[in-house]
C-alpha cells in the first residue's frame, strides 16, 4: 500500500536475478505460430554448456558496437556512403558499422528437407536472414548446431545474379550484391564495424517455423565466409520492414503481424509468435510506427515524454523528435539523447537516494550495491514512456534495472553521444 500510494515499484530483489536452472515453461500467449525465446547466455540456452563465458561488460560493450552500427547505417543512407561496390567471397573490406547480430535472444527454426534445426538470433533491426553453410568455403565460426549443408537438402536452390531478387540485397544489407563468375549465383555480403561479417550465396529454401507452419522458397543467405562474434548462434532472422525480411516474405501466411515477449530473466523463456487474430492480444496500448526518412527498414517510434515517479521529465518536445527513435529487439540498453538521459538519471537517483551506490558498469553509470537487501523488498521509482497516440507504457522493474549481481544493480539506460544523434 505504501508503494502504491508513493507511486513506487515494490519488488523482491531475487525476482530480478536469474536462477541457475532453466524455467522453460513458456508463459504468455502460445499459439500455432509460436516459438520459444531463449536468452543466449542463460541456463535455457544449450549454447552455454552450463557455464557463462560472457560477462555483463562484454554484453554492454557489444551493445555499444550495435548502436554505432545503427547510427552509421542511418548516416550512410543520408549519403555518407561507403558501400562495397563489388563483393566477392574472397575479400571483404572491414567497414565502419558494427555487429548486427549481437542481440541476445534466439529461437530455433528448421531449414531444408529434411529439416535441420538452427538457433537464430531474431532481430527487428535488420532484414536479411542468414545462416552459416557448408562447405564453409572460406570460414565459419563455431556454432552450437551442426552447420547447414545445402547439398543434403532436396529443396535448396541458389538465386542467380540476373534475378531481380538479387538486386534487392543492396537496400537490405547496404552492400551491392556480387555475382559468381562461374555459376552466376547471387552473392550477398553483410558486414560490421568490428570486422564481423557474413558473405555467401543468396538462396531459397524450405523453412519450418513450427511443426505445422512451413514456408517454401524462403529467401536467405547461405554463408560461406562468416567471421565474428555471433556467440554460437547459427545466424540471424531478420524481422525488419524490407521486402526481403521474414515478415514481408511470409505476409500471405501471417498477415505481417508478429509479437514477442522477452523473459524477465535469462533463466526463463519467452515467445516469438507469428500471426495474430482471434482476439489474441488483450490490454494492449498501440502507437503508430513511423518511417525514418533516412532508413526505411527500422521501426520508427514517436517518443512524447518520459515520467519518473509519476513526474513528467522537463524536456523540450523537440528533443526526441529531432533525431527520431526506433524500437529494436537487438539493442540491449535504451539510448536517449544526453539531455534526456541526464534528466532521467537525476530523477531516478533522487528516488534511489536511500541505497548505497556501486561502481559503474561499462556504459551504465548509475549503479547500486543492494547486497544488503538480497532477502528484503526494495522500492524503485517507476519509469513510464509515453509514445505517440497517448500510448503510455509502464516499464516493469526488469525493464528499468540491469542486474549484474546484487552488488551491482544499474539503471538500464545510456546516453547517445549527442542530442542530435
Amino acid at each position: 500500500a505504501t508503494a502504491e500510494s508513493n507511486n513506487l515499484h515494490l519488488l523482491h530483489l531475487n525476482s530480478l536475478l536469474p536462477s541457475s536452472s532453466c524455467s522453460s515453461s513458456t508463459k504468455g500467449s502460445k499459439r500455432k505460430g509460436s516459438l520459444e525465446v531463449v536468452h543466449k547466455y542463460g541456463p535455457c540456452s544449450q549454447q552455454n554448456d552450463g557455464e557463462r563465458k560472457v560477462t555483463d561488460s562484454d554484453i554492454l560493450n557489444l551493445d555499444k558496437e550495435r548502436v554505432k552500427y545503427i547510427h552509421s547505417r542511418i548516416s550512410k543512407e543520408l549519403g555518407g556512403d561507403d558501400s562495397v561496390k563489388e563483393l566477392d567471397s574472397a575479400t571483404l573490406p572491414a567497414k565502419s558499422g558494427t555487429l548486427i547480430g549481437s542481440g541476445n535472444y534466439f529461437v530455433v527454426v528448421g531449414l531444408g528437407t529434411p529439416k535441420k534445426d538452427l538457433s537464430l538470433i531474431f532481430d527487428t533491426g535488420s532484414d536479411l536472414t542468414w545462416t552459416q553453410c557448408q562447405p564453409c568455403a572460406r570460414s565459419c565460426y563455431s556454432q552450437q548446431d551442426p552447420i547447414f549443408d545445402p547439398s543434403k537438402s532436396s529443396t535448396y536452390a541458389n538465386i542467380t545474379c540476373t534475378s531481380t531478387l538479387c538486386t534487392q540485397l543492396s537496400s537490405a544489407t547496404g552492400n551491392d550484391p556480387g555475382c559468381s563468375s562461374s555459376t552466376k549465383a547471387c552473392i550477398y555480403g553483410i558486414q560490421y564495424g568490428d570486422q564481423s561479417f557474413s558473405v555467401g550465396y543468396f538462396s531459397r529454401e524450405r523453412l519450418t517455423v513450427t511443426a505445422t507452419d512451413v514456408i517454401n522458397n524462403f529467401l536467405f543467405g547461405c554463408g560461406q565466409n562468416n567471421q565474428g562474434l555471433f556467440g554460437g548462434s547459427a545466424g540471424l532472422i531478420g524481422l525488419g520492414r524490407h521486402p526481403i525480411s521474414f515478415v514481408q516474405q511470409t505476409a500471405s501466411k501471417y498477415n505481417k503481424i508478429f509479437s514477442y515477449c522477452l523473459p524477465s530473466t535469462a533463466s526463463s523463456t519467452g515467445h516469438l509468435t507469428f500471426g495474430g487474430g482471434g482476439g489474441a492480444y488483450r490490454n494492449l496500448v498501440y502507437t503508430p510506427f513511423s518511417t525514418l526518412s533516412r532508413s526505411s527498414s527500422f521501426y520508427g517510434l514517436d517518443i512524447v515524454s518520459i515520467t519518473v515517479d509519476g513526474v513528467k521529465l522537463s524536456l523540450s518536445p523537440s528533443l526526441f523528435s529531432s533525431g527520431g527513435a526506433i524500437i529494436d529487439s537487438g539493442t540491449v540498453i535504451t539510448r536517449l539523447p544526453p539531455t534526456a538521459y541526464a534528466t532521467l538519471r537525476s530523477a531516478f537517483r533522487k528516488g534511489m537516494s536511500k541505497y548505497p551506490t556501486a561502481p559503474e558498469l561499462s556504459i551504465l553509470d548509475t549503479c547500486y550495491d543492494l547486497s544488503a537487501y538480497k532477502d528484503k523488498d526494495i522500492f524503485i521509482p517507476p519509469i513510464n514512456f509515453v509514445f505517440g497516440g497517448s500510448a503510455t507504457v509502464k516499464l516493469q522493474p526488469q525493464g528499468v534495472l540491469y542486474v549484474a549481481s546484487t552488488k551491482q544493480v544499474c539503471l538500464a539506460f545510456a546516453p547517445n553521444g549527442d542530442d542530435s544523434d
Partner: protein, 31 residues
C-alpha cells in the same frame, strides 16, 4: 536516434502490426 532497447521490453507483449502501421505494448506478456 533514440533506441528503445530490449531490456526495456522485458516481460512486455510487443506486437508489430505492419498492415495497420502500429506497435502494441501489453504488460505481463510472459511474466
Amino acid at each position: 536516434v533514440t533506441i528503445f532497447g530490449n531490456v526495456q521490453q522485458r516481460t512486455l507483449e510487443v506486437v508489430y502490426d505492419l498492415g495497420s502501421g502500429k506497435i502494441g505494448f501489453g504488460a505481463g506478456g510472459c511474466q
